[in-house]
């Protein structure tokens, strides 16, 4: 019998509409009612959470763990460590590994590896199409049985609308959520940065906003046609937000997520050809950033995630065209979002921010997580929304260092991460 009592914290549990300063009791790895305190045989361990927020363990539903196949960038073990250091107790890992996570055996490997070495909950997403090639369906039913929580071709996007339609219908049958990385290959071409003033000035091939919007539109139509929820990953443009807002108003089963770099930076950042600003989808213009902030504020965009994409130094230290897309994000996303959304731009309060990291993704993926309900697994994040800190990449847990945020001063940070009642990380 093990017990921990977290005292004096502000318990924010949006799924249960709780926001109160109260103690939280954990017994044998589960949330217990406070009334159980008196029946405990021994004194529980005490954690002082004064001035801290006690939230359900945060969920990041867009993470690249790189295993199997690319362990030199990140492993399940190091990625989980990075997640814990970022305040996350559950992460959903993307299928663009090697081999691609499109067979039950690969899913099985990921799950058993995670069980052995990962200190946070690792939930695999499976591929929509075989080998992410966009030509034939992956064995979605078998993948569902093997334990995936969603399907996505992330990194790629099915261009054949008919194939995507069949995938969504099939997913509906096996009750698996569909996530989509919205990119029209023809519009985008070999674009590496947002099409706009900066791409024109620098002579870099541009990725027009329409390249994302065309697929967002496609997904809205398919969500309606198939009557199944489709979630648009990393939304970045003003018109995407407008399309989502209008569709959701009509009750279409569509949602969108935002990554911190798309509100922290604009495409002006690429002017020195620093590959730490090269992502897919790319950084956009200020008007797009403003629209994303509005979308977060009015609930059009309901989920926050990192798209944590580790790459080795030697891969990123090349000419801009040749560099792979993406940056790490697990250890900076919470700080960036609290700083930008809650403090700087005041678009949401901390309660809603926590909801976008807990109840919203849990609802989307139908997870038993994201709450502090009695009986729930004791995944808890303690965070200090006013803690000022400076990002120091070289101290990070992640196996890679590709981030543009080194040296940034942020306000807001997780201070302790608890999974199944056990502390898996604390700020020293």
């Amino acid at each position: 019998m093990s017990a921990t009592i977290i005292r004096n914290g502000r318990v924010v549990d949006p799924a249960n509409k709780r926001d109160e300063v109260v103690d939280l009791l954990i017994v044998d790895g589960k949330i217990a009612p406070l009334s159980q305190l008196s029946t405990l045989s021994s004194q529980p361990d005490g954690l002082d959470a004064s001035d801290l927020i006690v939230a359900p363990g945060l969920i990041d539903m867009h993470v690249h763990l790189r295993e199997p196949g690319f362990g030199y960038k990140e492993t399940i073990e190091s990625g989980a460590r990075a997640a814990a250091a970022g305040g996350f107790t559950t992460i959903v890992c993307m299928p663009n590994t090697s081999p691609v996570a499109d067979t039950p055996s690969t899913i099985g490997w990921i799950k058993s590896r995670a069980a052995a070495v990962a200190r946070v909950n690792v939930l695999p997403a499976g591929a929509i199409s075989k080998d992410l090639a966009g030509e034939e369906l992956a064995p979605i039913g078998s993948l569902a049985r093997a334990g995936i929580v969603a399907i996505t071709d992330d990194g790629h996007c099915i261009q054949n609308h008919e194939l995507m339609r069949r995938a969504v219908e099939y997913a509906r049958m096996v009750e698996v959520p569909v996530l989509d990385h919205c990119q029209d290959y023809n519009f985008v071409g070999n674009g590496v940065v947002n099409e706009g003033y900066w791409s024109t000035l620098l002579g870099l091939p541009g990725w027009p906003a329409a390249g994302e919007e065309a697929i967002v539109m496609r997904n809205i139509l398919l969500a309606e046609l198939c009557d199944h929820h489709i979630h648009c990953q990393h939304v970045t443009t003003a018109k995407s937000v407008r399309l989502l807002r209008e569709a959701r108003r009509r009750g279409v089963k569509i949602s969108g997520e935002v990554c911190p770099h798309h509100v922290a930076l604009t495409d002006e950042a690429i002017q020195n050809f620093d590959t730490n600003y090269k992502m897919n989808p790319p950084l956009r213009a200020q008007t797009d950033v403003d629209a994303l902030l509005e979308g977060i504020s009015d609930g059009t965009l309901s989920v926050l995630a990192s798209d944590h994409a580790p790459h080795a130094d030697f891969e990123k230290e090349v000419e801009f065209d040749a560099a792979p897309f993406g940056i790490i994000g697990l250890e900076t996303e919470l700080g960036l979002f609290v700083d930008l959304l809650v403090h700087k731009h005041r678009k949401v309060d901390i309660v809603r921010l926590i909801e976008m990291y807990t109840a919203e993704p849990a609802k989307l993926l139908k997870l038993e997580a994201g709450t502090l309900s009695v009986g729930a697994s004791a995944d808890v994040t303690l965070l200090n929304p006013d803690l000022e800190w400076t990002v120091q990449i070289e101290k990070f847990q992640s196996g890679s260092r590709n981030s543009p945020f080194d040296g940034w001063k942020l306000k807001g940070r997780a201070v302790r991460t608890i999974v199944g009642g056990k502390t898996v990380w604390e700020l020293d």
Binding site: Y197, G203, E317, D321, A322
Partner: protein
């Protein structure tokens, strides 16, 4: 004639140049000041004279090693840099992508570092990736000269274009310069736009709307898709090479249509003012962007551009190479 007073020099004739130029690299015209551009052109005046001597050689870069690293192939530009280096008494090595270790998977950075370990002093780089010269300049002590990076910049081409205009018309400010062709994918166009606008010229870009998007107006230029409206008021016409390769098939229907709508035909050339200069960075597609006779005509300064290119490149190598080793 202004006589300069100098109290500190052991050798007469010296003047401090460090204050007018202190860059080891030439990556583009976007970041140069008006004074820096003018200084390069003035220095090029001095080097142009060397080309008229019996022995076309000065020892200014003697003992220095210049590497022409042309990952994207080019004969004309490379030859021009090679000759410029020879005239400055530098030793020259030419490396092309296919011959280099890049094909064996060595990264650009490692290849360049190897060259530096061999004490290369100046690296002239042409690469298909925008930003590649900047990337190398940041990690090497050697001078990096951008000989063209993707669609981004081709600074020595724009400098020789500016030099030619200045030589023939006496000034840049106030002139109306029309740049005609595939602007979107052209590094020559971008560098020229930056240089001309900085020096006070009025620039009009002409071409199909797919290759001359409105976004360019934010750079301080005008846009027109009707060449006949622009030619009569132009003081300089700079024609860009138009190619109908695979990547461009979506942008315009073919060279026949291009010539009909945007080519500088004999008929169109009659619309030009008599002292209007006709320029082209080469190589020319005779009959496509420019009529063959027009290319050889009296208003064409295309060959002057080539001669001036040598002087401008000597100036650039002298200035950047000098700073790198000072």
């Amino acid at each position: 004639m202004r006589i300069v007073e100098s109290t500190t020099t052991a050798l007469s004739g010296d003047a401090q140049a460090a204050v007018r130029w202190n860059r080891k690299d030439l990556l583009g015209l976007r970041e140069l000041s008006v004074d820096e551009i003018n200084f390069i052109l003035e220095t090029a005046d001095a080097f142009k004279q060397v080309g008229t001597r019996e022995i076309k050689k000065v020892p200014a870069l003697r003992g220095k090693t210049l590497v022409n690293f042309f990952v994207e192939p080019s004969t004309r530009t490379r030859t021009s840099f090679e000759l410029a280096a020879f005239r400055l008494s530098a030793d020259v090595i030419n490396i092309s992508a296919t011959a280099s270790s890049l094909t064996k998977g060595e990264t650009l950075k490692d290849t360049a570092r190897n060259l530096e370990a061999l004490h290369a002093d100046i690296l002239v780089l042409r690469h298909s990736s925008a930003g590649a010269p900047q990337f190398l300049a940041n990690c090497l002590k050697a001078s990096v000269i951008n000989a063209g990076d993707g669609a981004h910049e081709h600074p020595t081409q724009a400098l020789l274009d500016l030099y030619t205009i200045r030589e023939k018309r006496g000034k840049i400010a106030g002139l109306h310069v029309a740049i005609i062709g595939d602007i979107l994918f052209s590094r020559v166009a971008r560098s020229n736009i930056f240089g001309l606008v900085k020096l006070g010229a009025r620039v009009t870009l002409v071409g199909p709307s797919t290759l001359v998007p409105r976004e360019f107006e934010k750079l301080g230029v005008k846009i027109s898709h009707k060449i006949d409206n622009v030619l009569p008021s132009a003081d300089v016409v700079n024609l860009l090479r138009v190619q109908h390769e695979r990547q461009r098939k979506e942008y315009f229907p073919g060279t026949g249509e291009y010539t009909r709508f945007f080519g500088l035909t004999k008929e169109r050339a009659k619309l030009l003012k008599p002292d209007c200069l006709i320029m082209h960075p080469g190589p020319i597609n005779r009959g496509v962007e420019i009529d063959s006779d027009v290319a050889d005509g009296l208003q064409s300064v295309i060959l002057d551009q080539v001669t001036n290119g040598l002087a401008v490149r000597m100036a650039v190598l002298y200035l950047c190479g000098g700073i790198a080793t000072t």
